[in-house]
Symmetry: D2
Subunit: 414 residues, 4 copies
């Protein structure tokens, strides 16, 4: 979470309003029914995202720090707490899709209510509570991305291939050949101590480590290259795979990235803009760690470590590239930036940095308790709200998960 000594930025209200508003815009194309479905236990209904982000502000700001505030509906925290054990019992995660009421409109009214109270109270809140508001904004940005990936997962369940938002024209060109950028390595620093911007606790503290020289690919692996991997038997060659990964392909009969489908001999993929053919020059997405790692082995190279990626990005513009600005088509476009298009798997486990300490209180459950069995992803995706990510940002997922906009940037020893 945000550090208590951070200066509350004068534009916090504006930032809050913009984020809250974008969430509503993203939900605009959805029906109440669309917003109710939970396509699998890792995903949540769209409606739940809208309510849960609001519950976060209501609980940790209004209830805890605005005297006299009474809950909008005292039965709702049970429904909209995600996983904060410190906040008591809650509805079973896997049954979130069983809740048709409150309706999408009722949740919009809940949002409006909380927004009004919070915007009203904001100027009077002490710095450390403003820091919690900032945390809430970043929290909601994370849920904006999850909202989009969960809606994709929801619509993908429908045999009719419904469209969330119309997409750009098809892009049939191949990508330019992959180039490599050399980095010297040495004794370097990664992470942050907070300082002038927001950071999550898991990015802290900044610390030294030794990184041997390495090279990083100048672009992401493309759909066309992935099709080559498939044609070369990538999914049926056990020696390319980690043991857990091979077991995963066998149990789930995996033969392609998620949402790819072969009909009448032609591969296509389901996207937020409906079913589209393979676009060979665009980055492949929706692959998991097992697939990323197997692809890298097939290509004779490897995945970068999180330190390597962060070093390479130290001077990159984290706000550049194909990221989320407004409700618009969400899809990789194949840009030259380190950030954008898709999150990039690293070979680093998501573990605490030396000296890491979680924040006090319930919000301290935010990051630390997930430090087990997950891998770090760096960058940002086409579904990441622009401004949310940065070089020190540590995204993380389990190696089998692939419903996010996840892709591969290769690395190799120098």
């Amino acid at each position: 979470m945000a550090r208590a000594d951070e200066q509350p930025r004068p534009d916090l209200g504006k930032q809050y309003a913009a984020t809250r508003s974008l969430t509503l815009d993203l939900a605009a194309p959805l029906s109440d029914a669309d917003a109710t479905i939970q396509p699998h236990p890792d995903a949540s209904p769209a409606k739940w995202h809208l309510a849960h982000t609001t519950w976060f502000f209501e609980t940790f700001i209004l209830r805890d720090h605005v005297p006299g505030y009474s809950l909008y509906d005292e039965r709702w925290p049970y429904l909209f707490n995600s996983y904060y054990e410190g906040e008591g019992e809650r509805h079973m995660r896997a049954r979130r899709g069983m809740v048709s009421r409150p309706s999408l409109d009722e949740i919009r009214a809940y949002r409006a209510h909380v927004d009004t109270v919070l915007m009203d109270a904001l100027p009077q809140l002490p710095d450390e509570v403003q820091a919690l508001v900032t945390l809430g904004v970043h929290h909601e940005q994370q849920h904006q991305e999850l909202f989009l990936t969960d809606i994709l997962a929801t619509l993908a369940e429908n045999p009719l291939d419904p469209v969330y938002m119309d997409g750009p024209p098809l892009q049939q060109d191949n990508a330019a050949p992959m180039g490599w950028t050399r980095h010297e390595g040495g004794t370097v620093e990664i992470g942050t101590n907070g300082g002038d911007g927001f950071s999550f606790d898991c990015e802290r503290p900044r610390h030294q480590l030794i990184v041997p020289g390495f090279e990083l690919a100048d672009r992401l692996v493309t759909q066309g290259e992935w099709a080559d991997f498939m044609r070369d038997g990538g999914y049926s060659t056990p020696s390319l795979w980690l043991s857990d990964g091979w077991a995963w392909t066998c149990e789930n009969k995996i033969e392609s990235p998620l949402y790819w489908d072969c009909r009448d001999g032609e591969w296509s993929r389901f996207t937020l803009s409906g079913r589209r053919p393979i676009e060979p020059g665009l980055p492949v997405t929706h692959i998991n760690y097992f697939e990323a790692e197997a692809y890298a082995r097939w290509a004779g190279v490897r995945l970068p470590t999180e330190a390597e990626w962060e070093l390479a990005a130290a001077h990159a513009d984290a706000a550049a590239g194909n990221q989320l600005d407004r409700a618009a088509p969400v899809m990789p476009v194949g840009s030259d930036n380190l950030f954008g298009d898709c999150w990039q798997w690293t070979g680093s486990a998501y573990l605490p940095y030396p000296g890491f300490t979680p924040e006090e209180g319930t919000v301290g459950e935010y990051n630390g308790k997930f430090m087990c069995g997950q891998f770090v992803l760096k960058g940002a995706s086409c579904a990441t709200p622009r401004g949310h990510s940065r070089a020190t940002y540590r995204n993380f997922f389990y190696p089998a998960q692939r419903w996010q906009f996840t892709g591969v940037r290769l690395a190799r020893n120098a």
Copy 2:
């Protein structure tokens, strides 16, 4: 299905229209989101029931027997076929709740379209196709009952206890003591050969069998009596249970009928009219075969056979009692009739009668292929459209299922 030699009744159009209309009325209190949820794999979304019953008419009448008819949407049969293998591939049953589109309104439009075409074509349809329309009407009536029980299952998932329709005042009286009606038995007949009314193939042919004398209770087992069974350790005494039933209680930690819940020491039950206290004089519902059978053993008697029940009902009015007439509160009321309030478990397996032959064609999948592992229930429930059931009617469910309005009428040897 209806026999081809049955005289098409002049009021078939009226019957069709009334049934179609009642379905819409039942759906009126629901949002698109309510109608999308599938609470468990045995149940279906409300929306799916509305579409599937329409698909039945569109497929077996309009497509097959109305020249020039083109499908309303040729992609929809994949979604709305239930289990007819003869009709090709279909959407996985367990994923029916993943389909937010078409919306409830779009399905209403689909219904209106099919109704218009069918009503227009009806007078010209040959007798055997009119018989298929009759079958479709009875099929839709079955789905009306499933619609209500599935909506109950859906709303029961919601921790907020939503109300489908406001209920009658609470009924706190006890029932009168149970009496017994004696029946002589002997060489008797059950089943039907068709004749002047509709029947399903599984009710045929009428055949002789020998039934020893027996006695049948003059009312259903009540919630108050069930509470006695619970207080007496009914759910924790293995000797009362069938082996499979005991395993079922242990695996699922069963301690009460479905939808009963104990909060702060008080049992209540969730109903289509929200949460209500136990009403001791009203029939217990939502118990399965295992529970019914264990209760009977605890009470020192047994369940009736289907033949016994049918004999006792031979002269009863199947259209009497608490059954479904219109969109209104749906709940047992404790009447004196054999029919109504709830379906009554028999101790008879659902198997073919001697000489049974399923109908030709895909509709022949209707009943015969389920003749394994299920038990027969007789009567009718508060959710059964009045006029749908009759003495020869054979309802059937698996012994572990209890999301229907199912209850117990006891029997004993004479």
Copy 3:
């Protein structure tokens, strides 16, 4: 169980000794390791069968009726009680294969001890306790058959195809064409009231019922005919199957009877005498109710009811045919008798006869509590101890089970 008014037969001691001795002979070819494995949860280790049958005598005879008897090992009842809830807690069924100690030899010593005490006490036991000894003998005979089928299941798990006992020469002839025997039907009687021989409670009481005329096949369905069914797409034609049966084939990818395997285009089957080719003229075994029922539909006929089979067998010699006499090859041979070779699926659910009452006490758990979801099989198999079965005998298994010597005799309406 045996009725208390039955006359204890003078040869009970002899019968006891012969049965106990046969069990040991059947175990002779097994190592301690062979006898320890539980191949699946429905089956039990050979060693467990040897101990459990002994526990039955020790508990219900020696402990309950022989003054001063102390348990051989007071910790063993926990291990060797099968399912008698009245006898307290017991080892989880699915973990029976986790018990290497006591060893096979220690269990042989347990058997010898119980046999000595029981044989010594037998003459003094009152009639009703002698009746329990008789029940124990029939109980052990049932376990002799299970012993053989469980050892077959155990050895079938071993990729090396081990041999339990060398088999007869291969039999490559086809069977004679199937003929049909006509039976008149009418008002008939089945079941027994006990009388001069042993019977289980579920066979009682003898009662009247009406059976229409029918015809029964004069031999069992053969392996060659089953191969025809397979070649004709029997396992991939949903219209031939019950709904539950089709689901079972799909989930388990079933393409043949149990233990059949296709290697290099040739079907073979694993038997107690190792791997053998298909023997076209011999009865097919190890098929379940779903398969039996589908085969009958494919053949245009049906399975007999239990009443039909029993009527047909009323004057047959239940001790004829290919049944178990001693430790020797166990395998169908294709005889002309109604009894022997394999148990024959009927289309009748295993339910209580009118007037059925289970015996008092814990042994009353023997049959009644399994009356749900199972189908009756009639006859006897090559693994049934000769003398164990009779026309009124009701064997029963769930429709998906097929590790017993189960086969098909067809029937049709007259």
Copy 4:
């Protein structure tokens, strides 16, 4: 695996013989039945360990490098290959306990045969093949430890609490208070480049990294301390647990270390010497990563990283402490050494060192393909053959696994 440029040690034959002989000694107390059981899918039957280690030598030495050698039984590689995809199809891991034949004696004969041929061929084998023999010896040492933990798991399944080997007298004293040893940290080196001793590929290459100063506990956490943790609600306080760990405790109803059991209010634990009371001064074992991590959080400190542990052990004697020398009681004793008693969980994920490259060929599947989702353990246990481990050794298990002799040594920031 061993590097090809390593000097084959003159005592390789002696080492081979000693290791092979110890395995047989460990198996001496077991019956064929004991050696056949697979208690859970992570464990293997004792017999399988004896055969698999032999298969390793037969395959990678005799078959590949001894001209004219023919397989002892050409059907056995299918049974005794563990997971080498490069060696073809193999018996399903989860069904290893279904194989009663070959018997334990037949496997002893197989071992004798391979030993004779290999000892005979050894002097003529080129260096790189001798290096494979060395690898095989270390491989067998690993299986000696697994053999013991799998036998413990096997006997623990038996309600009779059988004893593998009689144990030492009970030790009821408490341990001395825990002290802390300070380490300076800085730019340090861990791992190895091979050099004069054996190492696995995953320990290589030696590389620099930066380690902040830290303190390491001077002894292991004891059973008495663990009982304090339990009494303090350690297993029911979600804030102490990683998210995955808390889910694990809930799903599996975990309340204590593996093999601990509470009977009549007294905790005891099952060991290779049967059931014993808690010995408060002895190290706790059979706890997994989730438990170790939760305990450390409860104690206000943390687990060491693998680098910290390795630095602390740089000058320790890896051959000291309570490790396995011969067939004798196997149990922690509470010594002062870094090595011995139990493996110690670190907070480090098992991932490749910078510059890691797996060996060529099938033996390259040995370590690299498991680098996902597991945590590193350092040290050695009472079941580790003395001489097998070293400071650079990287043992690894999944965070939920706890059937090994695993325990906790705490660390904290300096």
